[in-house]
Amino acid sequence: MRRWVPVAIGAGIVVWVVALALLAVTTRDTQGFVKLQPWILMVNAAGVLTLLAVLAGRFIELLRDRRRHVPGSQLRTQSVLMLSGLVLAPLLLVFTFSVLFLTRGIDSWFHVEVRQGLTDALGLSRAALDLRMREYLARTERIAEDLEFEYSAGLFAALDDHRRLADAEELSVVSAGGRVEAYSASNLVEGLPPPPPEEALLQARRGESFVSLDPIASGGYAIRAAVPIGAESSLQGRRVLVAMYPVPQRLADLAEAVQSAYQQYGRLSYLREPLKISFVLTLSLVLLMALLAAVYGAFFFSDRLVQPVQDLIGATRAVAKGDFDTRVPRASRDEIGYLVTSFNEMTQRLARARAEADASRHAVENERTSLAVILARLSTGVVSLGHDLAIRVANHAAGDILGADLQARAGESLASVAEGQPLVAQFLGAVRPHLEAGQMEWREQFTLRADSGRRELMCACTALPGEGGELPGVVLVFDDITQLLQAQREAAWGEVARRLAHEIKNPLTPIQLSAERVRRRLLGGLAERDAELLDRATHTIVQQVEAMKQMVNAFSDYARAPAIELASTDLNRLVREAADLYHAQDARVNFELQLDPDGATIEADRGRVRQVLNNLLTNSLEALEGRDRPVVTISTRRIAMAGGSCVELTVQDNGPGFQRELAGQVFDPYVTSKPKGTGLGLAIVRKIVEEHGGRIEAENGPAGGALVRIWLPVDEASRGTVGPRGVRKQEPRREHA
């Protein structure tokens, strides 16, 4: 409820009480308040109307709340009815008794005996005055007899004498025409004496004596008598003697007192019924006001009682919906107020706890996000496993190294993921023994064998605490160190090659020269058999030295790493030239070229790329020796990547393919399955490819035969995208499809 309403109602009640008090004052006829009476009545009426309007509004509001099942409406109804009933009963009791008391009291004031007593007292007063009036009338009649024959000057003197003798106030003789002939008064007045009443003169002229008791303007009474003087005269008409006698003071006072009481009683008697109604109405007004004020009070107190409960209900619902900022205003300092304070403290604590939980969650989420970013950018594989080997978390690099999308299969057991995934199966085979043995902290290097070669992994395992009551798991961090090992091996082989070239090549020339000198010196002087032997021996020496020179030169080439000179190179053209050259060498071999029709131009050192093709085709031709329908398939295709483009070059033959035991080592120097091979051909190929920022893989094709795949970046900008496993990260697609 709005705050000003109780204040206005309170002020109205104060005004009303003051108005009632003033109303009570006005009944004592205090003149100052009499003027205020209409306003006082209006204030009362306005108070009643205002209270009625306010209460009607409150009742309608209460009924509406009950119909809508607003919380607290029933409690409010009960409290209003109870408080109203508590006030109504005594009020009605007081009202009934008051009305009865008033009406019966007023009736008792006007009891018949009282009126009769006053009437009797008045009659007694009249009787006493009548006696006096008759006496004065008789006295006046005697004077009239004496004055029958008195006229003019004698009349005045006689009138004066009689007035003194009769104790009259005044005596006057009025002629038949109404003119005062003579006048005598104890107190003379200026001017003409006031004329006697017409009524008295008329009666006297008719021959009848007249006597009356006249109230005097100045207060008190006088007895007036009018008596005809003598017999009626036809000439002059009948004169009238008019006499005024004072009423004795004692008698006048008593009579006045009786009359005053009688008049007062008469007035009150006249006002009896109106007064009764008035008092009952006033009382009803007071009762109504009190009743309405009480009912309003009941509403007011029920509001004070129920409002905090309603607030608490609303706030509880809000809290249930998660709004912990809800606060209930504390309206009082009683138990309800204590409850409200406790509720507010509880919601404050809840809000604080939720804020802390939110902050913690945000921190955890931030950390997880950071961790996810870090994991995603790591080239190191990270896999978190539960106690049941279920994958909790795996980063992209892990899936890349193990050749399976581990992120997509989070939640699944690593054993189920390993089905159909040979690398994952080998990884599991290496990891499981440790875990089954209860080893949670270990570090180990192991080798995975794939069709494309061996992969050396360095794997570290660390225990993870269990979350939410789960058993502890492990986190496996592993890195593909194949490249690293390869680089180390290459560095070692490079050093070996350099030393071989240096140490072996130097003595070869003297050996060859010595052998030729021996042959030249001795060949002519020896017998035919010896000469033939010498010739054969020296020839063999020279031949083998030459072979060794070639071998040393090959090692020298491997160890040497001159700067490459990049230039725009049409790979398709180089492929065609190489195919033509080798087809000319061995027309038996069929070269199938599947070259990208959109071109395969790359930035590369043309000579070195040609050497790559030569080495690969040499290997293929050597592998195809003795084969029926030898076929070498060479293909190029351009692949678009996220950070650039590359060209994929594949060379496949239908020969015996790589030996299984050499898988993963075919690019190592001096690893060959050929009886005459140096084992440097593929090593040099890979070195050239890696110098160009490319990548190479060797495996056996689906239908057998060796399959070598090379990815070379088309330009400098694309170099970073091709590197180790770079191509696999992207879904290849044809450009200019």
Binding site: T26, T27, R28, D29, Q31, V34, Q37, P38, L41, L122, S125, R126, L129, P197, E199, S212, L213, D214, P215, I216, A217, Y221, A255, E256, V258, Q259, Y262, Q263, Q264, G266, R267, S269, Y270, L271, P274, L275, I277, S278, F279, L281, T282, S284, L285, L288
Partner: protein, 177 residues
């Protein structure tokens, strides 16, 4: 409660007897304009009862005299009020009519005679003839009010639904000295 009051007031109004100014005129007598008027003054039974119980009755005569002016509002020349009181004196069993302005008093044996005397206004001095401009048109308006008096104002307010006072319409005529 209010409806009860309205009912009582309605009943009082329904029984209203006639109260009006029957006729009135002014005449110059010895250089003074005098007023004569006859009032139709009939009292209700309730008022007669109140009178008989000793509650006095007051007749108030409001008199206004205005002078006509061209282009300007009329000039208030004179305004006076005369009050008479009619009361029953139970001891003498007479009705006393008192002029409250002059203090003159007359008594009557019966209520009717007293009311007749009250309703008959004769030779009431109004204004000195010299104060009226010759040839100018003047208007005299009178209105009579009869009140049941002698009761405390508080009592009147308590019994507020009673018609304690009645007034006639203004009675207006013109004179031209």
């Amino acid at each position: 409660m209010l409806s009860l009051g309205a009912l009582l007031a309605g009943a009082a109004l329904a029984a209203e007897p006639r109260f009006e100014i029957r006729n009135a005129f002014t005449e110059p007598v010895a250089g003074v304009w005098h007023l004569n008027a006859n009032i139709e003054l009939s009292l209700s039974e309730d008022a007669r009862g109140a009178l008989a119980e000793g509650i006095p009755l007051t007749l108030v005569l409001d008199i206004e005299l205005t002078g006509e002016r061209r282009f300007l509002p009329d000039e208030d020349v004179a305004e006076l009020q005369q009050r008479w009181q009619l009361a029953y004196d139970p001891l003498s069993d007479r009705y006393v009519v008192t002029n409250e302005n002059s203090g003159e008093q007359a008594t009557y044996a019966g209520q009717e005679e007293a009311l007749a005397a009250l309703a008959r206004i004769r030779n009431l001095p109004l204004i000195d003839a010299d104060l009226l401009k010759d040839g100018r048109r003047h208007e005299v308006s009178i209105r009579a009010t009869v009140e049941i008096g002698g009761l405390p104002e508080a009592v009147k307010m308590l019994v507020f639904w009673r018609d304690w006072s009645r007034a006639t319409d203004w009675y207006t005529w013109s004179i031209k000295p």
